[in-house]
Amino acid sequence: MRDVEAAANSFVVCAGRVITSSWRGEWDIADGIIVVRDGRIEAVGSADDVDVPLGLPVYHYPDATVMPGMVAACSNVVGQRSGDESIGAGYSALDAFNVYGDYRGILAGGVTTVHIDPGWYRLVSGQGAVVKLGGEPGSRVLQSPSDMTFNLGPRAYLPPDIVEEVYPSSGAEPIEPGVPQRPDSRIGQYLALREALDSSVIGTGEFNVHLRDLSAWWQAGGTARVQVNDAADIAGAIQFFSSNLMGSPVSRSRSNSNGVKPYLVGCREIGDVLDLVSDANMGFVYTLPSPLGQPGGNLGNNPEARDADITVLSGLFEAADEGRVSLSTGSGASPSGLRLAAATALRAGLTERQIVNAITSVPARQLGLGGRVGTIAPGADADFVVLSGAPLSIETHVLKTFVNGVEAYSIDQDDEWGEALVVRAGTIWLGPNNWLHDGAVLIEDGKIVSVGQRVPTPPNARVIDAGPDAFVTPGLIDAYGHLGLAGDQSAIPPNLPLERLVGYPDVSAGRVARSGVTTVLTGPYRFDNNGSRIAAIKTWGGSREARVVNGTAAIAFDVRGGNPRSLANRIKQRLEAGKKYVEKWKKYEEELKEWEKKKAEGKLEGDAKPKTEEIVEETAKEDPITGRWSMRIFGGPMPNEEEGEIALKLTGSSIEGRVTEPYVPIEHKIIGTLDGTHITGTIEVDTGGMGTPTWEAELQGEDFMSGTAGIEGLATVNFEATRTSKEAVEFKVSKRKRRTTGKDGRPLPPKVDESLEPIRALLNKQIPALVAVSSADEIDALLKLISEYELGVVLLGAEGARDRTDLLKEKQVGVVLPTRVLRQDDWEWYHQGDDLSRRGIPVAFQSNAEDGARTLPEMALYAVSRGMSPESALAAFSVDAARMFKLDDRIGSIAPGREGDLVIFSGYPFEAQTVVERVIVGGKEIQP
């Protein structure tokens, strides 16, 4: 899309299918292009035939069908007129049309143009008009008056008497009783028409605006819209209106040059008089019964009563040529249901083409607007509808409606709906040896809602019909990669939340995503001695929340190279520390449980008040610490030596202090404890989750100390300090209360230790440990330790796994295959994935790279070429990998409740010509 100024109603539409409804030119175009300029269609054709002009915005609807805005030849947009006149030619339906109205309810059905008539209840109800339901108010009226509306049949019978208002009424001019009007019967309606026509031409000596307008219409040779339903009236109407004479002596003598052009509307019983139809030179608008959405009325025991029979349409379309019959909803029904009502005409054996024309180009021609609306052809108004599928499919919905090249309706305007996507494909891979043929998946708000042969299609759903060859798998999983690290090769300590690296997807994330890999277990290149976090992140998504599956999906250790037992011991140390931490939490949780139980029972009176303990601190008068210290900081990562001043104060054995020089805008408190000559303490400063800095020093003689300060695992600096003054510096009130329970006696949780949090999750069996191992010895040592603690574990690499297959199988330990998958054993080359999976050990693939993960799917091809079962290879990329990291309730399979991550292959994934066609992450397709 070019960023060039273009008129808002000039653009290009590329659609999967374009139906033009055109009489000339192609009717149905696959991969069509429509060029719209200034609200009119400039060109239409297939992608090969039409040149896309430069500088216009391009809208892509690859899965959509675009058809002309529908034309309803009959509508309820304006109501009935209320005047009593049987001959009311002066009434105009346009008077009641609100050009400023909001008709999005009808535009949502794809109807852009409607005929409005003044009603079905009087012999001559008035003048009709043709209007658009969108666009600028000034441009909405297409034609007015478009025709004179006649109604034949029982509904027009017995009009009320006309009472003339006399003012002022008097004895000389009394209010007369009402004058009765015609018609009372079927025969009377023709009499009334002849009478009206005659007197309109001759005049009656009285002024009558309706006769005046009837006469003007007659003289001009206007169009007669005859609304009839009963067979007898249809026959009568054809006879009365088809001849120019109309049975009136006056009209016979003054026949006009143009002649009145009639068309019939309604035609429910036209099946009985089909023989008249073929000879009649007039159009027919068949109004469809609209049973959709409401139950039918009772017919009772009357054998004459019958339902409207849509199958008469086959006869009607045969009797009249195609271009003379259009379909419409009834006068009392909203035209918004036109497309669905018309679709039921398929039952009468009509073709898609006949039906689509009958609701687009045919009614447009009948209403005198052929070539302007109801067709997508050069020169026509850019009124068209973007549909989610085939135009006459029940599951298809209108996505957008354009009027004069301006979007007049869009499903997105409807806040009620979230995002929905339906993917249909020839094959959907639900799991190993579980293929769903001709299936569909519905994803709503990012989660799979329904999977099956048929799924619901909500009105707002985008539909991707991938075709019978397509093969859909769950999004692929990279079991160990580094996406997002951007080349940072350092070991990352366990307190660092890795998901903070994730933001809006960048170029490399996009590359990986488009390859079909939707989730990466991302971790540092090297693991910290105390363990490193592994985060499960999506390769695509609009926000961090959407992209992070689990910020801590595993804690990773490396026990390779060295004495396996001592290395395993290091893990053990961490586990022991973690155990204590877990105990603290357990204690708290138990206390909380107890407290909640008490609270529920109402036994809290004694404990209701918050408990505090008072810490009394005395200020010493002279001591080895209190005063100002001038200090020097050096070593560690500091490029240069820095100097500064701190002020300290000793109270009992605790030290409190501040940095006074250089001035630091953020206050940070130095806290410490004096134990003999040794000082340990912390510096209270917000480091953004990196941990609390600590310091340690030794008093050396009078007024001199030296020591270190730093953040564990990150950096350490050395410092020396000399006391320059013994004057105490007051900082704050030194008496304080510390809460030990919450406001209502609720126990307070222990302090969160970020570096032990992953261990806690591990010990609680929420996440596994990912341990890089290589030799069989290392595997032995590790598994021994692990079984001691009964933890979940995933082996990373595990080149020596072949020698411990029984052990691994017994413990059900998964293996993330090494990047070099081919191994040699006794001069025999084997593929480790093939080898392990065949022995029943779950495996997963790793990229050990950032955007290098984009070639990961190729590794599956290679594995299969080396003998691995294709089903195992797919499982290794999806369900097995997810299960190893305890994420199988969220990703790795296609089932209700899982994340909407899908890969659409053009065919069976393990064929050389197959490519990844589309990737969907969280229910949203990744834009190419």
Partner: protein, 562 residues
């Protein structure tokens, strides 16, 4: 029934006698009270007692005075003011908002025989030696506000007949309507009384002042406009409404042709000749023979409308009514005299209104709120901004059905200023614009020499909601004085009592002390402040009285009262 009428008649006679007498005291400040006496029975009774006493005293004086009166004075016809206006009045020292022309910080207005003769800074205007000076320093003087359309002065707001151009609101104005008294109190000194919107073509309207005992006395100008509605009348739909409108004018054309033919035939008959031409030619020849008195009642006013004798006030309740209204007015040739009265959403047709370039009257509710039918999102439009941005002249009307504040024209204008419309435009929208739209722009709506002296003296800026109307001059006569507004006084007293009662009830319900100490003390604090506020309120009333005394007229009126 008869007795009621008779007693009313008696009361009227008594009151009228009293009015004539009080004219001697130059300043008629009792007129609103007369209205009160007529419309409110109980108050009337009390007043009658008082006026009877007054009339006895006054009668004695009158006998003496009449003998002194110059004959011309005594024989002046009973015009609108029911007597001679004070010859010359000068309002000095106030801030003057003339609407036309810049504001005058400290100015003087000289009124002679009901007309403004001079206006300008105090040091530039020469006050005639015999003028009565009224010191309004510290106050703001502006032209009387104008209600551009009201049917609240009518006994019934609509006639049932859809097309009734032969009616005149003159027959239906009820001078005793409390509405007129309220208008005076709010500084509205001219009211366009016109039929309401439930019609196709309504009757003729009239511009009146809110004082006077008969429609004649109240009239400023008659037959100013005719109401026409594009929005369907009750029981009609738009097709019928518009067809009826078209039919009316088409029938008029037909009638004119018939009349012309008839006149031609008559002219031949006079000459004892036989008809010598075809009907078409006869109609053509007869056209010029039609005289005004030949039109029948049904058609006369429609002819006058086409001729431009008065304005067409076209009600467009919805945006879709605007274009048909413009088309009708253009086709029938009265677009140049048309005023478009907009309903709630009619501003959406601002493009069409701009093209027509005619003044518009805005709905009482100045905000238009609409929910999006798909998203439920609420959109709000400030209507005057839309119209002002289109460069159209507009007038505001009060919204008595809305909030209390919206019933005041100056509040409506202040809302415009608050929403970014220039102050001058907002001022014009309640004064000179409605006057121009009614065709009396050269008589009313601004403080300029030559115009009718309809003046409002306010305690502060008209757009400050803490200001109120102190004095109203109509035709140069003091017609309203807040210090003497007994009904208002009683109303305020009543409201103060009600507030006290409400407070007492509230205290009673809250009698038991609350469990929480902290909350209780806070309530006590609130009470203390509310007491303070009510004390302030009463002192303000006291100030008002004081000002009245200071103006030096209260002595006279006080005498009249006794």
């Amino acid at each position: 029934m008869l007795t009621t009428l008779m007693s009313l008649g008696r009361r009227l006679i008594e009151i009228r006698r009293f009015v004539v007498l009080s004219m001697f005291f130059r300043h008629v400040r009792v007129l609103p009270l007369l209205g009160a006496a007529l419309s409110d029975g109980s108050r009337g009774m009390r007043f009658r007692v008082r006026s009877t006493v007054g009339s006895m005293v006054a009668a004695v004086m009158a006998v003496g005075f009449v003998s002194f009166m110059p004959t011309g004075f005594a024989q002046q016809p009973e015009s609108a003011a029911s007597g001679p206006p004070p010859a010359k009045v000068a309002l000095t020292g106030g801030r003057i908002i003339p609407v036309v022309g810049p504001e005058i910080a400290t100015g003087t207005i000289v009124v002679e025989h009901g007309r403004i003769t001079a206006v300008g800074p105090t040091d530039e205007v020469k006050i005639p030696y015999d003028a009565m000076e009224v010191d309004v320093s510290g106050k703001v003087v502006m032209p009387g506000m104008i209600d551009p359309q009201s049917w609240r002065g009518l006994d019934v707001s609509n006639e049932n007949l859809p097309v009734a151009p032969f009616l005149d609101v003159y027959d239906a104005i009820d001078p005793s309507r409390l509405y007129f008294e309220d208008a005076l109190r709010d500084g509205v000194l001219a009211i366009h009384v016109i039929q309401a919107d439930n019609c196709v073509i309504g009757g003729l309207s009239r511009v009146v002042k809110p004082i006077g005992l008969t429609p004649d006395e109240m009239t400023i100008a008659a037959q100013n406009g005719i109401k026409m509605s594009i929005t369907p009348k009750r029981g009609f739909d738009r097709m019928r409404q518009l067809t009826t409108l078209r039919e009316t004018f088409a029938e008029l054309d037909w009638y004119l042709e018939q009349l012309a033919e008839q006149k031609y035939e008559e002219s031949l008959e006079e000459k004892e000749k036989k008809i010598d031409v075809g009907p078409a030619e006869a109609r053509e020849r007869g056209k010029d023979l039609i005289k005004d008195e030949d039109y029948d009642d049904k058609h006369a006013n429609l002819m006058r409308l086409r001729r431009g004798d008065f304005g067409a006030w076209i009600f467009c309740g919805a945006a879709m009514d605007v274009q048909p209204g413009i088309t009708l007015a253009t086709d029938e040739g009265f677009l140049d005299n048309a005023v478009f009265i907009l309903g709630a959403e009619a501003h959406k047709a601002v493009t069409q209104l701009k093209a027509a370039g005619r003044p518009v009257l805005l709905p009482g509710n100045l905000y238009y709120r609409e929910r999006d039918q798909l998203t439920g999102e609420l959109k709000e439009v400030f209507i005057p901004s839309e119209i002002h941005d289109a460069g159209l002249m507009f007038a505001l009307q009060p919204n008595p059905g809305g909030s209390l504040a919206e019933a005041y024209l100056n509040y409506q204008a202040a809302m415009c200023v608050r929403n970014g419309i220039p102050r001058q435009t907002a001022l014009e929208a309640i004064t000179i614009n409605p006057a121009t739209m009614m065709g009396v722009g050269d008589e009313l709506g601004s403080i300029e020499p030559g115009k009718i002296a309809n003046l409002v003296v306010m305690s502060g800026d008209p757009f400050d909601f803490e200001s109120w109307v102190e004095l109203c001059y109509i035709d140069g006569i003091l017609a309203y004085d807040r210090a003497r507004d007994y009904r208002l006084e009683k109303q305020l007293e009543l409201e103060a009592t009600r507030a006290e009662q409400a407070k007492a009830e509230e205290d009673a319900t809250k009698g038991k002390p609350d469990d929480d100490d902290g909350d209780d003390s806070a309530e006590e604090g609130d009470e203390a402040t509310s007491e303070g506020a009510s004390a302030e309120g009463s002192s303000e009333e006291g100030d008002g009285d004081g000002d009245g005394d200071g103006s030096g007229e209260s002595g006279d009126t006080g005498g009249g009262d006794q």
